[in-house]
């Protein structure tokens, strides 16, 4: 059989086999992933989207540190029940400053894409320190250490903003110089709260048709 004799060559030559695997396994990515990554339209911010403030960025990095996204999604699907429950469905342009994206894959707790402005800062403080104080049946862990730690205790906010600036986030050098001062006197609890309050903000800013 023709095809078998062709394969005979492949399986007798390790270089050819490596090459074959590389070529065959690359096709999908080249056709399906690369065009989107190269298309700036898929990376452009939506009209109302603001870049994260230093405090919000600090909060977001703490959210990543604690892996909040293992339980909370940030993606409202365009389904009736989901829009009813959480708010307007998610759009590509909302995530332009999300490195990495935090959509998550498991909703052990509720979606947070529209949580900004839904509760007061005081509610978030209470909830993060003792979830069961506000939601009796909650299975969320408590995060008491957030209140005890100063925001940016590693003194790295400027370095982090500079890295993001390199990646194209619209931070000016003045923004970066001013950031450490803005975080002074803040705790990690303040930072996470500020980040949560920022979620979905661009949707509120945008006039809904």
């Amino acid at each position: 059989m023709n095809f078998l004799s062709l394969h005979k060559r492949l399986e007798r030559h390790s270089g050819l086999l490596i090459f074959g695997i590389l070529v065959v396994s690359s096709i999908g990515g080249l056709v399906q992933v690369l065009p989107i990554v190269l298309d700036d339209a898929h990376g452009a911010p939506s009209a109302g989207l603001a870049v994260y403030s230093p405090l919000e960025l600090e909060g977001r990095d703490i959210y990543i540190r604690e892996s909040c996204s293992t339980c909370h999604t940030q993606q409202v699907r365009p389904l009736l029940a989901e829009v009813k429950r959480y708010g307007p469905y998610s759009r590509t342009g909302e995530f332009a400053y999300d490195r990495p994206f935090l959509w998550g894959s498991k909703r052990t707790g509720p979606d947070l894409a529209r949580v900004g402005g839904k509760y007061s800062d005081a509610w978030h403080h209470l909830h993060l320190l003792d979830p069961r104080a506000v939601v009796p049946a909650s299975i969320m862990p408590a995060y008491p250490w957030l209140a005890q730690r100063d925001a940016d205790h590693g003194r790295s906010i400027a370095a982090r903003m500079r890295a993001l600036q390199m990646l194209g986030h619209p931070y000016t050098n003045e923004d970066i110089a001013a950031a450490p001062v803005q975080l002074e006197g803040m705790t990690e609890l303040d930072a996470v709260t500020a980040y949560l309050q920022s979620l979905g903000r661009s949707m509120h800013a945008e006039p809904q048709p």
């Binding site: 695997i21 590389l22 990554v37 604690e66 892996s67 029940a81 498991k106 939601v135 982090r160």
Partner: protein, 472 residues
């Protein structure tokens, strides 16, 4: 020239250790969902960090160590030569184990790149890349010096594992470092999501599926003492598998903010994937069926046959979950977790256990310490995985239906918190299932340790066949 088998022993030992520790972390995380205060306010025990530790230890500690152990064992035997560059192979060993140890500690300390199954920060990403490429050099170097003409099927799968995972890891880890423990992804938002699930799904595809199929193709025929049923089928299935898997990633992003055509393409390719997946299963089952008698007496073979059944189940369930109208219900729910563990426990863990029960006595030059213990392990594992998966199916289908349910007035019928509270009994069942599964793994660790303690030094030399003609 003897086979270099001490490195196989070393990787096997570490794999068993990571299995126990990683599943212990899994059981603990499962318990935290039932009793949320048992982290005692300690950051390192907090659910998010511990869950990340769980996936890192089981996938990269247990899974990859087991794959490298069996790849090094089988590539020497199928090539009839000693491992190429044993010094480099030992470098791979130390680099990999150190990465898991320090990486695990770093996750507990809060270093996290924020991408699923790629949470380790950039210094570890570099270490992984170097170790992985070295693994490839040792593996392909051995194949290049083989004294057989044909490269055996198991090596194609291990080869695909090495090549494709290198490609995925390097691209998905591209990032700009800000500090030693913090970097930002080169990609943002939707673009990052598409790259991440190209990586994530194919880490599943080429590691949890392809890599372990390499294990299957070597150890199943060995244990069954039968040749592979259809060689031609294995060729077709291999290339279809390598081609198709890469396209399927977007089924993790159905109804998300990515283009519709990407989702639909991902769905169609996932459905097609059923064919090569099941072709391999059929090939395996037909191979064993010729040795059905041995099945009754050999605990190792029992594990492998059961793992094939779960492989069939997970690769049937997967394409079903990839259908958009099913995914609407399953996505974000415990159903996904059930699917994951029917694959991870039922397929990956069971085939590895079976392989170790076969491998360790041979490495030790002796008999398995206790076949009875291995049989008890078999039933503990089966009970554990069934309890786990059934509980998560029940939980997941309930969540999927209740979350989307609207009443006559068009309002959502159930509050999120009510549905969450209803999960408690399922979480408890899953915890018990996990505990049984872990108990079995601990029993295995003991059994294998005792087996190895009674070892007689054996070094096995490649058979003295003349090198085949015309070899490159």
């Amino acid at each position: 020239m003897k086979y270099e088998d001490r490195i196989v022993t070393a990787f096997t030992g570490c794999s068993v250790l990571w299995a126990v520790l990683g599943m212990l972390a899994g059981v603990y995380v499962a318990a935290e969902l039932v009793w949320p205060t048992i982290d005692f306010g300690l950051p390192g025990l907090s659910f998010g960090r511990l869950r990340t530790l769980h996936t890192t230890l089981v996938l990269f500690g247990f899974g990859v160590s087991g794959l490298i152990a069996t790849a090094f064992y089988s590539v020497q035997r199928t090539s009839h030569v000693r491992l190429f560059a044993p010094g480099l192979a030992w470098f791979v060993f130390y680099a990999w184990q150190l990465t898991i140890v320090l990486g695990g500690v770093s996750v507990m300390a809060g270093w996290n790149a924020g991408k699923e199954y790629a949470e380790l920060e950039w210094p570890f990403d570099l270490a992984i890349a170097v170790a992985w490429v070295s693994f490839g050099v040792v593996f392909f170097g051995t194949i290049a010096r083989r004294r057989m003409e044909a490269i055996y099927i198991s090596n194609w799968f291990y080869g695909a594992l090495i090549i494709v995972v290198a490609m995925l890891h390097i691209v998905n880890s591209l990032a700009v470092p800000a500090t030693i423990g913090k970097s930002y992804s080169l990609f943002a938002g939707s673009q990052d999501a598409i790259v991440q699930w190209w990586y994530g799904h194919n880490a599943v595809g080429f590691l949890l599926t392809g890599g372990f199929l390499g294990m299957l193709y070597y150890f199943l025929p060995k244990q069954a003492e039968q040749p592979i049923w259809s060689y031609r089928l294995s060729i077709v299935a291999f290339w279809a598998f390598v081609y198709t898997y890469i396209w399927a990633g977007p089924h993790h992003l159905h109804y998300h903010s990515i283009p519709e055509w990407v989702q639909s393409l991902g769905m169609v390719m996932s459905l097609i994937l059923l064919a090569p997946s099941w072709a391999t299963m059929v090939n395996g089952i037909m191979t064993v069926s010729a040795a059905a008698k041995k099945l009754r007496s050999d605990p190792a073979l029992k594990f492998i046959v059961l793992s094939l059944a779960f492989y069939g189940l997970a690769t049937f369930e997967g394409p079903m979950l990839a259908i958009k109208s099913v995914n609407v219900f399953s996505h974000f729910t415990e159903w996904t977790i059930g699917h994951v563990h029917s694959g991870a426990l039922g397929w990956n863990a069971l085939i590895t256990f079976g392989t170790f029960y076969f491998l360790v006595p041979r490495l030790a030059g002796t008999q398995l310490y206790s076949a009875r213990m291995a049989n008890i392990h078999f039933w503990l594992a089966l009970a554990g995985v069934l309890l786990y998966v059934l509980a998560m199916w029940g939980a997941g289908v309930s969540q999927g239906v209740l979350w989307l349910s609207l009443d006559e007035l068009g309002e959502v019928r159930f509050s999120f918190n009510d549905v969450m509270a209803a999960m408690k009994p399922y979480y408890l069942l899953r915890f018990i299932g996990g505990l049984l599964f872990l108990a079995g793994a601990v029993l295995m660790a003991f059994n294998l340790m005792r087996t190895f303690a009674g070892r007689r030094t054996v070094e096995i030399a490649p058979p003295a066949v003349p090198a085949a003609r015309g070899l490159k």
